[in-house]
């Protein structure tokens, strides 16, 4: 077996040639197996229908009062839309020291929301209401000094699952299991009181 010059029926067997053929056949079969498995793997991607259902959502902001929040669903994710008071936006800078990522450097958001208020416009905040820890729905705790969250609570969100806390701009507080701020979806304001979630300058020409 190990003998390179083994004989079969009196004639010599070229073992190295045999080994080469075995390896070459196996390698070809392995490549073929990868190609064969790929459609099955691809079938798990979001289907055409799921992608089509991910179309932009239009929201009328005219009835949204200061301090009020509405929830819409875009791409099966709940989206929080709320109007912040001018004072609340100014107060955001006051607790930068207690945040993990105050400048949103490691967080996910479109370029126009990569700022301290994490929004296009000062007043309107648009956040994906999926906790960046493990995906629960953070609950609204807008009242400052909330009895549950302590007297120094500046208002924001608390995730009921694992206790992550976020401020009024969706920025995560130190001591939370989540390590990044709440994500911001792409959005735009075609008119003063109209918000379109899932569409901005980048996506306008593209797929959406």
């Amino acid at each position: 077996m190990t003998d390179a010059a083994a004989t079969v029926n009196g004639s010599e067997v070229d073992q190295s040639r045999r080994r080469f053929l075995t390896v070459a056949t196996s390698a070809t079969a392995a490549v073929g197996a990868v190609f064969t498995i790929s459609p099955f793997v691809a079938s798990w991607e979001p289907s055409e229908r799921a992608r089509a259902m991910g179309a932009p959502v239009t929201v009328d902001l005219s009835k949204l009062e200061v301090g009020q929040m509405v929830t819409y669903v875009w791409r099966r994710q709940p989206i929080y839309i709320f109007r912040r008071a001018e004072q609340a936006v100014q107060d955001l800078a006051a607790h930068d020291g207690r945040l993990k990522d105050p400048k949103s450097l490691d967080s996910e958001q479109p370029p126009y929301a990569k700022n301290e208020r994490r929004s296009r416009r000062d007043d309107i905040a648009v956040l994906i209401a999926v906790c960046t820890h493990l995906g629960c729905l953070p609950k609204q705790h807008f009242q400052t000094g909330d009895p549950v969250l302590g007297t120094d609570w500046p208002g924001g969100f608390l995730c009921p699952c694992h206790g992550s806390r976020f401020d009024m701009a969706g920025r995560v507080f130190n001591g939370s299991p989540a390590s990044t701020n709440l994500r911001v979806p792409p959005y735009s304001f075609p008119a003063e009181n109209t918000l379109v979630i899932g569409q901005d300058e980048d996506t306008a020409q593209g797929a959406a």
Partner: protein
């Protein structure tokens, strides 16, 4: 004993044995298979796990006849099973109680291995197959839990699938691939159904077969951790062994009787087991806009869940959860003790085993409590205890002052 499948054998049995090795299989696997004579109560759980597997397959097949997969139909079809299918409630409760029973007997079965060193040489592979069964069982239980599409189902799927998002680079794309949508959706439940009823049960059956073949190869360990094969009698059979049939088949039948009695009491009278086996929030349909409070996985996952929540960093938490499960795989190589059974180990090992036991149970309890203040601190302490058992094992198992192991098993008739 005359060979029962000799060519001279006549009649139907002879005809059959010429074509299928029935008699020789029974002989080699049951009559001539010698198991140690000193098995105790810890040795019931392997056969019970096999029984529960068969029960789950049976009740599961019937549930699949009435269940309608899909995000708009699943919840209603489960209610239909519960209210309108004759004895549908019973079939479902047998299946849901069976899931918890499965984990209970598997945990006791695994604990037996810790007590008596059953994972040690030459049974490493046997242990690994068992661990793969445990992993497959976790996947099976999780996906089965999602199928009723109650609110806890939905959010369990959301949280567990999101664990994969912590993987660097590929995480977010991987999560979308698993769900088949931008959130947990119809596509998700459909594929979970296929995996739960076809793919994973097949994998489980294959692994169980490998587990049993490996067991037959090495033979069972026993409470004394002595290799009975090393002490054969004049007939070549181990002196401390007895034929599996009839001695252990009868013992296992007795165990099954006790188990089924307890099982029936739970299935009939307390199927939800005080929110532990079935959670209240899951009697409401899935609602993507409302996370149930409190959110907790089934009791058999809570130790790992408590570890996950104890870590204030998401990636590290997910990593520790993974390590907590994978740690079991390495135990045969972490344990450097010259003896197997806890009976002949010293106080060092016993102390660490006690620490592990307390930590596991405490984490199980903490995983059901809210993730606040003292609970999180306690979870951190016990998570350290849990990992200390594994990480320090190479040290304390070697340092331990073991007692001399006798040649023969101790047996009190």
């Amino acid at each position: 004993m005359a060979s029962v499948d000799a060519p001279t054998q006549g009649g139907f049995r002879g005809w059959l044995n010429k074509r299928l090795p029935v008699d020789s299989f029974i002989r080699s696997q049951l009559l001539d298979y010698y198991a140690p004579k000193n098995f105790n109560v810890w040795y019931f759980f392997g056969s019970l796990a096999l029984l529960v597997l068969v029960m789950q397959l049976f009740t599961g097949i019937f549930l699949a006849m009435f269940y309608k997969v899909g995000d708009t139909t699943a919840f209603d079809s489960v209610e239909y099973i519960m209210r309108e299918v004759d004895y549908g409630w019973l079939i479902r409760y047998l299946h849901s109680t069976g899931a918890s029973a499965f984990f209970l007997v598997v945990y006791l079965h695994m604990y037996r291995a810790f007590l008596y060193g059953s994972y040690k040489t030459p049974r490493e592979l046997l242990w690994l197959f068992g661990m793969f069964i445990y992993l497959a069982l976790m996947a099976e239980a999780f996906m089965g839990y999602v199928l009723p599409w109650g609110n806890m189902s939905y959010w369990a799927a959301q949280v567990i699938i999101n664990l994969f998002s912590t993987i660097p680079v590929v995480g977010p794309g991987l999560v979308e691939w698993i769900r088949g949508d931008y959130g947990v959706a119809d596509a998700t439940i459909d594929r979970f159904f296929a995996l739960h009823v076809v793919a994973i049960p097949l994998v489980l059956l294959l692994l169980v077969a490998l587990h049993l073949v490996a067991l037959r190869q090495t033979g069972s360990n026993n409470p004394d951790g002595i290799e009975i094969k090393e002490h054969p009698g004049p007939d070549g059979k181990p002196i401390d062994g007895i034929p599996f049939h009839p001695y252990y088949t009868v013992k296992d039948v007795f165990g099954i009787g006790v188990f089924l009695t307890l099982f029936a009491i739970v299935a009939f009278f307390v199927p939800t087991f005080g929110n532990l086996f079935m959670e209240e929030a899951n009697f409401e349909p899935a609602n993507p806009l409302s996370t149930p409070e409190p959110i907790a996985p089934s009791w058999y996952f809570t130790p790992y869940y408590a570890i996950l929540r104890a870590v204030p960093n998401q990636r590290l938490g997910a990593l520790l959860l993974l390590l907590a499960v994978l740690a079991y795989f390495f135990v045969p190589w972490l344990d450097r003790s010259p003896v197997k059974s806890v009976r002949y180990r010293g106080w060092l090992f016993r102390g660490f085993l006690a620490l592990f036991t307390v930590s596991f149970l405490a984490l199980m309890w903490l995983g059901m409590r809210p993730a606040t203040g003292g609970y999180v601190t306690a979870a951190r302490v016990f998570a350290c205890g849990y990992f200390a058992f594994f990480v320090l094992m190479p040290w304390y198992s070697r340092r331990d002052r073991v007692k001399p192991v006798p040649n023969r098993v101790s047996f009190h008739a």
